[in-house]
């Protein structure tokens, strides 16, 4: 049930395609990385994307220019340095996030939840859609329920549309599930299952992803680096490009069980936007500073929870926003609100307060080490990712079970697994114990 056991994945998680490079960034999303492994190196046979840009499918990968690998300070990854272990339950909906409109009594409720491992990545685009729907009711004020990344972003977008906004929430950002994510650009990590989402969802996804991608650019280069790009090195002992099959957790599929059974059921759309997403580049052997035979590098956009969260909240308050701490238990609780238009952003809590049984929790865990500001990059190796963020070194085993995107599906055990964390840290620690800095 819990699917722990990193060791099972170690040693077989060494195949990474270019395409998963960015997707595999690590968000809770990063767990997404696993999925990439399942497909062939060319990307052929993936769900068709509309927008194949210049970086066409099947194009051979470019090799990084010699001398462009900067000196790399090794990551100090030791089990005795763990300062925190965070567990998050992703709010996964097989049909994709809920963005429809419902009328409850005298309230118009615009839903905005169920973004799986893609909530941070899609937050701006999803908020734009939700606020657009709210605006059709011509409100002057709206209530936003929930203050995770989707709620807070929706509140800001509503303010920018000229509305008075009150956020009603049980918890503020440090306590919401959002900050237990990985915090990297992973816009199609457990965002939907291909069949239940249907072919139309890809268009909606692309709209959200492109809108968010552009929105985030506004937060680059700011003091404290709320949003920044990091080089991520994807390392492997074996050549890239082989195919890895993921096991199923049982017979049938989502249609027959109400639960997905295989990583192959998960939808992937990232090919649609690769005209704007930096591609990975191969690092030639003599330039490769890592103790792994094969390496690639990609530029990944990351979200620093502290800097970005506080910034968004400051913007919200500066624009006159109010926060009311309040818990909702049934839709009837809306009756007491003064606002007639409500944007509902409860994340996984929709399962309880809105009785949305389509939500499936997907567990993910991150271990945190003290910040190492000299380390300005991340690595992925043997099913574990490490990433230097402003609030610490994040280490995550993203394929602990060997199930790819099925890892953690249906697991709502929201407690730290120390063994899993230590295994992940040890993998990275082992890598850097063999690292020769002068080659960097």
């Amino acid at each position: 049930m819990t699917g722990f056991g990193v060791e099972s994945a170690l040693g077989k998680f060494d195949i990474v395609r270019r395409r998963d490079v960015f997707a595999g960034s690590l968000a809770l999303g990063g767990l997404a990385a696993g999925r990439a492994l399942a497909s062939d190196p060319t990307g052929a046979g993936l769900p068709a994307g509309s927008g194949a840009g210049a970086k066409a499918t099947g194009e051979s990968e470019r090799t990084a220019l010699p001398g462009t690998i900067p000196p790399l300070v090794p990551i100090r990854a030791h089990v005795d340095q763990i300062v925190d272990i965070k567990v998050c339950l992703r709010p996964f909906r097989p049909m994709g996030p809920r963005l429809d409109v419902e009328r409850i009594g005298d309230k118009l409720v615009v839903h905005n939840y169920g973004h799986g491992g893609s909530g941070w990545s899609l937050s701006w685009g999803s908020a734009e859609i939700a606020v657009g729907k709210a605006l059709t009711a011509l409100p002057r004020q709206v209530a936003v329920i929930g203050c995770g990344i989707v709620g807070l972003t929706s509140a800001l977008v509503a303010q920018r549309a000229g509305l008075d906004v009150t956020i009603y929430t049980k918890d503020m950002l440090p306590h919401t599930r959002s900050v237990r994510a990985n915090g990297s650009w992973t816009p199609d990590s457990r965002i939907a299952l291909t069949t239940p989402a249907g072919p139309e969802f890809g268009d909606l996804w692309e709209r959200m992803a492109r809108y968010s991608w552009k929105s985030y650019r506004d937060y680059l280069g700011l003091p404290g680096n709320p949003i920044e790009f990091r080089d991520s090195y994807i390392l492997s002992d074996k050549p890239f490009g082989s195919t890895q099959e993921f096991a199923s957790t049982g017979p049938g599929d989502y249609a027959s069980n109400g639960m997905p059974r295989s990583a192959s059921e998960f939808a992937h759309y990232s090919d649609r936007i690769r005209d704007v997403i930096p591609a990975a580049e191969v690092i030639a052997g003599h330039d490769n500073p890592f103790p792994a035979a094969y390496a690639k590098r990609e530029a990944v956009m990351i979200f620093n929870f502290g800097g970005y969260g506080h910034l968004l909240l400051s913007e919200f308050y500066q624009a006159g926003g109010k926060v009311v701490i309040r818990e909702f238990h049934t839709p009837a609780d809306l009756k007491g609100l003064k606002e007639k238009v409500v944007i509902n952003c409860p994340g996984l809590a929709a399962r309880d307060w809105w009785s949305d049984k389509t939500l499936i929790p997907v567990r993910g865990q991150t271990a945190w080490l003290p910040p190492q500001p000299d380390v300005k990059y991340g690595v992925r190796y043997n099913g574990v990712s490490a990433l230097s963020k402003s609030d610490g070194i994040l280490i995550q085993g993203f394929n602990a079970s060997g199930l790819g995107e099925m890892d953690g599906v249906g697991n709502s055990f929201e407690h730290a697994d120390r063994v899993e964390a230590e295994n992940a840290v040890t993998t990275i620690g082992g890598l850097f114990s063999r690292f020769s800095p002068r080659r960097g």
């Binding site: 419902e102 409850i104 657009g132 729907k133 059709t136 009711a137 709209r207």
Partner: protein, 158 residues
């Protein structure tokens, strides 16, 4: 203050009602005197659709959803123009659009595009064509209807 609040509430309620009920409440646009009923013909909107594809879709997108730097012609469009009369949006389009050749379309074409946009925002067609002169359009309120109708449910339907 009380009265103001009551009015605001009423405005929201009416608009919400419009969203739910489609056109039923359409004429009761908040803060606008109703001076005429919106009507456009299906053929006119169809002509507008073709013109849209040719002149507008390049920026506003095939589904009118806009993009990061281009306004959506649904959702926000309603709140942007509600409370005005239709001559305003017609005048704007006539003068400013398409962006790469402002003012290049004929009045009848611009009226057709307005008709198409209304259709795409769930305004039903009627027996008469939407006029293409600002004098006549000035008598017609921008209808307050939503792009998506809310489901009338009191319980959850995921």
């Amino acid at each position: 203050m009380m009265a103001f609040n009551a009015l605001r509430r009423r405005g929201v309620l009416l608009s919400a009602c419009v969203v739910v009920g489609g056109l039923v409440c359409a004429p009761q646009v908040r803060g606008a005197e109703r001076t005429g009923t919106v009507s456009y013909t299906a053929e006119q909107a169809e002509h507008g659709a073709a013109l849209y594809k040719q002149n507008c879709a390049v920026c506003h997108g095939g589904t009118l959803d806009g993009a990061f730097d281009t306004p959506s012609l649904r959702g926000r469009l309603i709140s942007n123009w509600s409370g005005t009369t239709l001559d305003k949006v017609f005048h704007y389009i006539s003068k400013a659009m398409p962006l790469f050749a402002p003012g290049s379309l004929k009045p009848a074409d611009n009226a057709a595009i307005v008709a198409f946009i209304l259709r795409e925002n769930d305004v039903a067609p009627g027996p008469r064509e939407l006029p293409s002169d600002e004098g006549a359009l000035k008598k017609i309120s921008f209808p307050s209807v939503g792009g998506k109708r809310a489901k009338k449910t009191s319980s959850t339907s995921p």
